[in-house]
Structure formats: C-alpha cells, structure tokens
Amino acid sequence: MGFMAVIGFAVARLRNLFAVVMLTGIFSLTAAMLYVVLDAVDVAFTEAAVGAGISTVLLLSTLALTTSEEKTVNAGDSHWALALVVATGCVLVYGTLDMPPFGDPTAAIHNYVAPYYLEKSGAQTGIPNVVTSILASYRGYDTLGEVFVIFTASVGVLLIIGRPKFGRRRTHRFAAGELRDSMRQNVILRVVSKLLIPFIMVFALYVQWHGDFGPGGGFQAGVIFAAGYILYTLIFDVDTARMVVPAVATRLCLGLGVLLYAGVGVVSLLMGGDFLDYSVLADDPVKGQHLGILLIEFGVGLTVAAAMIAIFFTFARQER
C-alpha cells in the first residue's frame, strides 16, 4: 500500500502525461494485488483487466488525440489547494480513529446482512461463489442499474465523439502513429499475440460460464474479452478488426445484453414471481435461481464487452 502512495505522489508531480498514464497502469495492478491479499478475488480480476488494460489504452488514445505534455501550474493556486487538501486529510484521519481495527470480526459491517448471505446463499441459489449470488440475485436490482449506467455511458461516448465531422481541428500526432506502426511490424509481438489471443478469448468464456463456482462472472468476462479484442486491434489494424466484428454488431450486443437482463426480470414477473425473482423460472427454486443467474450474467457480459469495444473503437477511429 505504501507503494501505491508513492505512485500517487509521482503522478501528482510528473508533467509528462504519457508517464502519468503508465504509472496509473502500474497503480491499478498494485491495487489488484492488494485485493487478492484482502480476499477480494473477484474484484482483483476486474481491476487487473480494467485498470491495467482498458483504461490505460483509453487514456493513451486520448493523449494521442490531444497532447502529452502538461503546462506548468500557477504556484499561488497550488498552495491554497495543498492547504485545503491537508486540512481535509486531517479531518478524515480523525474520522478513522473511530473505525474498528483491521480484520476485526466484530465490526459492525460483518454483523447484519453478510452472515445471512454467507449462511443461506449456498442453499438458496446452489452457487458456491457468494459474490456472484449476491451480485446477480439478492442485489439484482442494483446490478441492473449498473448495467444501465454502462450502457448510457457508452451511448454518451458514441454521441459525443462517435460521428467525426468534417472541418474539425485534427492535428495528427505522429509519435503515437509511429509507435503503433512499429508495434505492427514487430514479428515477435505479432506471433505471440496471435498465439495468445484465442486463449484470452477462451479464458473470458470460462470466466463467464464458470463464475458461479470460482471467481468470475459477467463483468470480469466482459472486460477480459474486450481486452483481448483490443489487443488484436492494437497489433493489427482497426479496419481488420472491424471486419471481424462490425460496428452494428457491437451496438446490437450493447442493447441486447441490457434487454436480456431486464427480459429475465419480466419473464419472472410473467411467471408469477416478483421482478428479477428467478425462483419461478424452473420447477425447483434452486434450479430457477441458478438458471436466472447464468442468464443475467450473460447479459452483463454481453453489455460490458460490447460497451468497452464500442468505446475503444470510437476513440481509435478519431485518429484518422
């Protein structure tokens, strides 16, 4: 954790945005390792794929479109900011003095709903991974909301920069273009990624369908799949990659995933249960829960993968 703090300071000091982005990637990877140590394997999965993979690529594309050097800040402003930050920090540290110590099993958050989930979820959903069953079943409404947020955000990106207009100020930055060209020409990169990408895809599918037994699920599978696909695009070409999955297909999947999720809810409503109550989907409530969770996780995976790919392509296409 100390390492994370050091990286944080480095990010604050550095002016070169390219270095900042690279450090953010390392920062995420460190965070992911920390999550593994703290037993949050599902979260670590997601952080590694998102933080070190997708968000770094997105930040880099933005730099390629704008500029990679930051201008110096006004010293007077930053003293005020520093004072404010230190004051807020002191108040927050004062607040933590009332927190229970690290790892304390008697802490308040461990004594309300969490024991219920840990005891009952195995019998009620037939799924050993408690994180998955809470995500998809007990807290299904929340997750539906999150999927809608992702859907809305990617629609927003498509609307804001999705349609390149003529006559806009576009200064092509050769540095980024040359870097990419050298990546395409590099034989080792091409061969290794050709070998690796099928495995990344298969791994994503495994994470998707095995998420109820081990760590994994729709969110993780979606980002891993998207990361594999983005890797392919980086090494080869945007147009080649676009031939594999056309723009219409990603936009269709984007909507389909959300519809599948909400649709499962509506079906359970029609079959006499509550919205997103999967117990009625099969004869046996446990089987119904299992089926429902699998279906909505698939919906989540579809939307997340499509959203990430659509966002990435919107950024990548700007460059030409």
Binding site: M4, A40, L82, P101, F102, A114, L118, I161, R169
Partner: protein, 121 residues
C-alpha cells in the same frame, strides 16, 4: 493508545486517506483536463481500497463456499466494488470523450486557457 496496538491496526485507512487526498489535490490544483481525470481515478481507487479493507476479516478466506472453511471475508463490499470498477471505466471513457471534444472546440485541454478564450470578446 489502542490505535497503534496491533499491526496493521488503522494504517490501511490512513493510507487510503493519503491516496484520496492525492487524487483530490490533482483534481483541484492541476489545470490539465486529462490529469484531472487521472486524479479522479486515484480518488476512486482509494474508495475501492477502503471498502475492500473493511470487508476483510482476520483469518478469513475468499467468499467462495467450500468444505472445511468457516470464516469468510464479507462478500457484500466485494459486490459493490466489482460493479463500481466497471462503471468507473465507463464513466472515465465518457469524461475522456468530453476532453477530446473540448480539444476540438478550443484547441487546448488546459482549464485556464479555455477560460481565457471564453472571456475574449
């Protein structure tokens, strides 16, 4: 004082505060819009670490039910943060899209330069 009694005690929370304040500082002190978004990301990660730290129980195991394990860490914060990470990257992408669009309109991504252009008659 019991705060320093047993390692790690509250140290995790303090580092979270330091990280959060680093992010906050970047957001308010830097004029560059990309840097601001990176700062927001650091702020966000510090909140994630805070939640995951709270979820940990000493000698607990990852919350995947198995025979022979009696103590599990709290799965609920894991669920919240898992979805928050993916939502976070989607909203970051939206922010970056706005930055690209601002650069198209003003030719710069520095906050004060944009303001100067706005104030020109």
């Amino acid at each position: 004082m019991h705060y320093f009694g047993e390692f790690p005690g509250l140290i995790n929370y303090w580092i979270v505060v330091v990280l959060m304040m680093t992010g906050f500082y970047i957001v308010i002190a830097h004029k560059n819009l990309v840097k601001k978004i990176v700062g927001l990301n650091i702020f966000q990660v510090s909140v994630f670490v805070f939640f995951i730290t709270m979820a940990k129980i000493k000698d607990g195991s990852a919350p995947i039910l198995a025979d022979g394990i009696t103590t599990y860490s709290n799965p609920l914060p894991h669920v919240l943060i898992l979805t928050a990470i993916v939502v976070g990257v989607a909203t970051t992408a939206l922010g970056l899209a706005l930055v690209v669009r601002i650069r198209d309109a003003y030719g710069t991504i520095e906050d004060d330069e944009i303001e100067a252009q706005e104030n020109e008659p």
